[in-house]
């Protein structure tokens, strides 16, 4: 089969840009699942919530979607803290089996999707902004702005959060909790408050991730399901707690998905992520960069 170098090159570049976006999507899970050991499978619901928030404010008042995303950060942060509170009182405190916690988040995911269907319907929604449409051109490579800008802002968000976690008091407390909750308790810092903040941060990232999503492609309520496999695959592959590992894993999956989509059709993308997930879990649960 004749493989056009042009096509391949563009597919790889598109994959890198996609990978940057995937890093933003997975960021929240790396915090909630990787660091706090909470399997928040409702994450895609929060992301879609972010997408529809951007859609609503953009289509009604013409506000730039990324601005909406930033404005939504505190809102989502509070929502995340509330969800963690509920999760803690209902499950963590009682030491319930994992199955109830999972069922809870599954219920949230489900209720989220169905609510969006009831409010917005099943039609595709999209946003409008000046950078959706034009592309940069280097040599034979296309760089659509609607992918480039989310990618760059995503990586910026990841970098900022990394700095916050390693240099601020609360950030370092979060890292400490992820390693040893008991030690933190002995130091008289309350792990529950720290976890609450961490979970709030993980949900807040969805505000921006959701905005990026609707910039990159039109959304409808059921596409959240495609992302479950992706975000957990990236999280596990990236080593669970490492941000650099997560970015590397996101880029890898982005590139493989992009190449698969270019040569075999876009509907196989979820299968790529799932394949990665299975292989990683079977072969190396510690992830790409090790633990």
């Amino acid at each position: 089969m004749f493989v056009s170098l042009d096509l391949l090159l563009n597919a790889i570049v598109a994959g890198l840009l996609l990978g940057g976006f995937y890093a933003a999507v997975t960021l929240g899970i790396t915090i909630s699942f990787g660091m706090l050991d909470i399997a928040n499978i409702a994450q895609p619901a929060f992301i879609l919530l972010g997408s529809y928030a951007a859609y609503t404010l953009n289509s009604n008042w013409g506000i730039d979607p990324i601005l909406v995303g930033v404005a939504m950060l505190p809102v989502f942060f509070v929502i995340g803290m509330a969800v963690y509170r509920l999760y803690y009182y209902a499950f963590e405190r009682r030491g319930e089996q994992a199955i109830q916690g999972l069922a809870f988040f599954f219920g949230l995911l489900f209720v989220g999707e169905v609510s969006l269907v009831l409010v917005f319907g099943v039609d595709y929604r999209f946003v409008e902004a000046s950078y959706i449409g034009p592309s940069l051109h280097f040599w034979t490579i296309d760089l659509p702005l609607r992918m480039l800008i989310p990618c760059l802002v995503s990586l910026l968000m990841v970098a900022l959060l990394q700095v916050y976690l390693t240099h601020s008091f609360i950030g370092r407390a979060i890292l400490a909790v992820s390693q040893d909750g008991l030690a933190l308790q002995l130091m008289a810092a309350s792990p529950i408050r720290i976890k609450q903040i961490a979970f709030g941060i993980s949900t807040a990232t969805c505000a921006l991730a959701g905005t990026f999503l609707i910039i990159i492609q039109p959304v409808e309520p059921s596409i959240g399901r495609d992302y479950i496999g992706r975000i957990f695959a990236i999280c596990v592959l990236g080593g669970m707690t490492s941000f650099p590992g997560m970015v590397a894993a996101a880029m890898l999956i982005g590139i493989v998905e992009s190449i698969t989509a270019t040569f075999y059709g876009p509907s196989w993308a979820p299968a790529v992520a799932f394949g990665f997930l299975l292989i990683t879990l079977a072969v190396r649960p510690a992830g790409l960069l090790g633990r």
Binding site: I99, L102, F106, L118, R225, A233, P270, F274, L277, P285
Partner: protein, 331 residues
Amino acid sequence: MRTGTFWLVLIAVGIVLLVLSRALVLNEYFYFAAYVVLQYIVLSTAWNILGGYTGYTNFGTAAFFALGAYTAVVLHKTTAVPLPLMIVAGGAVSGIVGLGMGYLTLRLRGVFFAIATLAMAIVVQTLIVNWDYVGGSRGIYIIRPQQAPLVGSYIQYLYSLMLIMAVLSVGIARTIERSRLGLGFAAIRDDEQAAEAGGVPTLRLKLIATTLSGAMMGMAGAPLPYYVTYLDPASSFNLAYAVNSVAMPVIGGMTSWIGPVIGAVLLGTIQQIATVTISSALNLLIVGLLLIFFVIIAPNGIVGLVQELRRLGEGGRRAKAPAPNVKAKAG
């Protein structure tokens, strides 16, 4: 009640229901609705063997179910085997997929298994959507045979088959509960490490649970093409199957065979009524909210609530009886 006696009673109930309904019910709609409720009894019971008994959550019910349905489609197009054989084949296919999935993911924590099943459901759907032989995304039309093997209409035949499957699955669940296998499952659910240290071959038992559960779901899916006559991925992978197969056991109660039955009958009937009065999306929303509500407030479901009430009742009665000679022991 001994297991043997239970089976006799169960089969008797099944026969009575079968004979009565076919003799008394004139409205065909009853069979359409009852089929769905019975199907959910099978799905919930199957889910609960892995979920409630063994403690491993499966979010991919739709995949196992749909694989059974599409196995039947393939057999329908290529052979002339009767439906009961298609049911067995559907069970075999889904059972093998369950075994494979389990083998790859059950050595790790339950969380990873759950996530993998969620992702798997999407992938199986993608495979079906891209497989034109079974209709792809456009779907496929299946013609219901004119003649049913038993006396009555074809839908009555489907209803009868599903009733038999419901009886079988409940019987199997109850038998497991009282058996050594069930004790092993419970030990895994309560503390897998301690179970392993106690000599329980945890991986093997988990694989048995996954395979059995998947096979039962596949069997429940096999008659679906004849029931709906138009089968497409959107409806066979419908969200309703995923959430219902989790909600029904959770709401009914996961620790006993009767929980999934209660959940299926209750929620199934309510939904059958609701779909004609409110939109299906709103209907599913209510189920989702009920699931969240129950999992927080009453994690042991309706069965658990009844047990609590009984315990409180007994405690009240015991408090009235004179206390034993505690002082004598302390001396």
